[in-house]
């Protein structure tokens, strides 16, 4: 299976390797020469300067034996040894959620959240949510130096992953929620037919296997950031050190070492003098300029071959460029943006009919430390016939929610704190329906006095209004977030009385853990 995935990834990446003029900085200088520009810098001088077009130099050097090194078996070996990750919680309608409002931006790679509580339901749960993003795998391939990050026209002549593809995939996320509490549901059935009600009976215990409580997919329909605004630039500047310190250091070290190696190679000054004259002699003829550059680079590789670590340094520099570009894009994508997203969720709560929720999410930053999130959703019963006996229709309920998030800055002990206030309204068109199954009881709910043979029960339908205050704590220097919330509601789906509830969660950001791995 993994080999199949790997093969598909290889086939989906761009093929072949050839034209050096597709490297953007070479292309710019060739264009400038053809246009006859000599100011503010001489393009011919720049073309032969690894201090200005070092990435293109490295691509050329690495490309000289690239085909031999990028074998399929190497790819599979690297693929199997790479594992990235990241995280976030369950949706509003899930048992065991701490949130009444779903956030817009999706997880970057893969996230894990464990939450305990419930906001609108009477079935409390311990839900573990895995949330992932379609860009996770290709992004991991770049981070682990399996495929390079490509720029501009490079995608036409190299196996690489480009920004536009990553940006597109980054807009699509998915999640699976597991209800850990269902492990506690143990069914006991007689091992043999009972011979007497007064004698001890051997039984067989069976744990419930159906622990998936929800699956969802989310697409960012609209994602806009104003990169020219002062607020955006200030936030970007503030986040550069944390997001790009390591990749910046690595790039400085590896590209710097490659530059030193190139410029200190014996014969480099003579090589530059000779080929500067030849490139200038090509005048403004593009074909001749490209031929002169290819000739210069070919001579250069031959010149530098004497250094056994030359190719390795080019490879190391290229890997650093890829990781740097990746980190730069992730930083930009992580900054506050206006996001409108659509989410499809299929919920499979314990002891209740499965439902589908269609949700529209708007995530609107107001200030650098303040944002507003709005949700509108409808929930439908998947099988109306299963709930018809309760007088329910397919249209179960509609929801609207609003949340204001305010970052409170850094605290000495608890680290960054975000305080949130949320309001939620649920129009209950059809009652909440429960399936009565003595062998699989609904956690936390006891039915008494039901007629024998009752299979379905339902509550009185009533609209729900609730308010929530939440603190999300992030201890300094850690990747942990702990959302703690308290919620007041006028009623729940089952109980027609006001209630106060508390919820707590725990999330871990695996991205930061894996970003330290090389």
């Amino acid at each position: 299976m993994r080999n199949l995935i790997a093969l598909l990834l290889v086939l989906s990446a761009s093929p072949a390797y050839a034209q050096i003029e597709n490297c953007p900085s070479f292309q710019r200088q060739i264009d400038a020469l053809v246009a006859g520009q000599t100011s503010p810098s001489d393009p011919a001088v720049i073309l032969l300067d690894p201090g200005q077009v070092g990435r293109c130099f490295a691509i050329y050097v690495a490309g000289a034996d690239r085909v031999n090194r990028l074998s399929f078996s190497d790819f599979v070996k690297k693929f199997e040894s790479s594992r990235p990750d990241k995280q976030s919680g369950a949706g509003t309608s899930a048992a065991g959620t701490t949130s009444v409002v779903s956030q817009g931006p999706a997880a970057k790679v893969l996230s894990v959240a464990a939450e305990y509580g419930a906001v609108t339901q009477d079935v409390h749960g311990q839900v573990i949510t895995l949330r992932g993003n379609l860009s996770g795998l290709p992004a991991a391939l770049v981070k682990h130096d399996i495929f390079p990050y490509c720029v501009g026209a490079e995608q036409t002549n190299s196996y690489c992953i480009d920004r536009s593809m990553l940006s597109l995939l980054r807009r699509v996320s998915f999640s699976v929620s597991f209800d850990a509490s269902r492990d506690n549901q143990v069914t006991a059935t007689p091992a043999a037919s009972a011979s007497s009600s007064t004698t001890a009976q051997p039984v067989t215990f069976t744990a419930s296997k159906n622990e998936i409580s929800a699956v969802s997919a989310r697409v960012e329909l609209w994602n806009r950031r104003d990169t020219t605004s002062k607020d955006f630039v200030d936030t970007w500047k503030k986040n550069i050190p944390a997001a790009m310190d390591q990749t910046g250091k690595d790039l400085l070290a590896t590209a710097g070492a490659f530059y030193d190696d190139v410029t200190n190679a014996p014969g480099y000054p003579a090589w530059r003098t000779k080929h500067l004259a030849l490139i200038r002699a090509a005048g403004r003829d593009r074909a001749q300029i490209v031929a002169a550059l290819n000739n210069a680079l070919s001579d250069f590789v031959a010149l530098a071959q004497t250094d056994p670590k030359f190719h390795a340094q080019a490879d190391a520099a290229l890997a650093s460029y890829s990781k740097f570009f990746q980190a730069q894009d992730e930083l930009l994508d992580s900054l506050d943006t206006n996001v409108v997203a659509f989410e499809y969720a299929n919920n499979r709560p314990a002891g209740q009919p499965s439902t589908t929720t269609l949700r529209l999410i708007a995530d609107l930053p107001l200030l650098p430390q303040t944002k507003l999130v709005a949700n509108g959703a409808v929930t439908l019963y998947d099988d109306p016939t299963a709930v018809a006996a309760a007088g329910a229709t397919r249209y179960r309920d509609a929801q609207a929610a609003l949340e204001l998030d305010q970052a409170l800055g850094k605290f000495s002990i608890t680290g960054p704190v975000v305080f949130s206030l949320a309001g939620y309204y649920q129009y209950q068109n059809s009652p909440a329906v429960f399936q009565v199954d003595p062998l699989n009881p609904v956690p936390g709910v006891s039915f008494v006095g039901l007629p024998a043979g009752a299979k379905t029960v339902f509550a009185t339908a009533g609209n729900i209004v609730l308010a929530q205050a939440k603190l999300t704590l992030s201890p300094p220097g850690s990747s942990v977030k702990v959302p703690v919330s308290i919620t007041y509601s006028n009623r729940t789906e089952l109980i027609d009385k006001p209630t106060w509830r508390a919820q707590v969660g725990f999330t871990y950001d695996f991205d930061s853990l894996f970003s330290g791995l090389k």
């Binding site: 970007w236 550069i240 790039l251």
Partner: protein
């Protein structure tokens, strides 16, 4: 105040009087550009935890290389320039492009 760095003909390198203080600044053309890392004559010019639009250093004696890493809000499409700043004078040193975030400038201090 005149600029200290002088371009060397037919070369990407510069020369200048040793021990003289030089200030380099970034100018934005497409998006914003900042210096994330800078190293010259064994010294880090950008303190940890910062990204700057300006760095200063004294020209060291002999041949040394100024190595810089730039970050761009427009990612690989970003464009800017690096200039020597010596008010009221200023001179162009390098064109900065998002697809070449590493730049090296050899400076010969005399």
């Amino acid at each position: 105040m005149p600029c200290k760095l002088t371009p060397i003909k037919d070369s990407p390198d510069f020369e200048g009087p040793a021990a003289q203080q030089v200030t380099l600044v970034t100018n934005d053309h497409i998006g914003s550009v900042l210096i994330a890392k800078a190293e010259y004559a064994g010294a880090q010019l950008v303190p940890d935890g910062q990204a700057l639009a300006q760095v200063s250093f004294a020209i060291a004696q002999g041949q040394n290389t100024l190595k810089l890493v730039f970050v761009f809000t427009a990612s690989t499409h970003g464009v800017g320039e690096l200039r020597e700043d010596a008010p009221p004078d200023s001179q162009f040193l390098r064109s900065l492009n998002g697809d070449e975030p590493f730049q090296a400038i050899r400076i010969i201090g005399k």
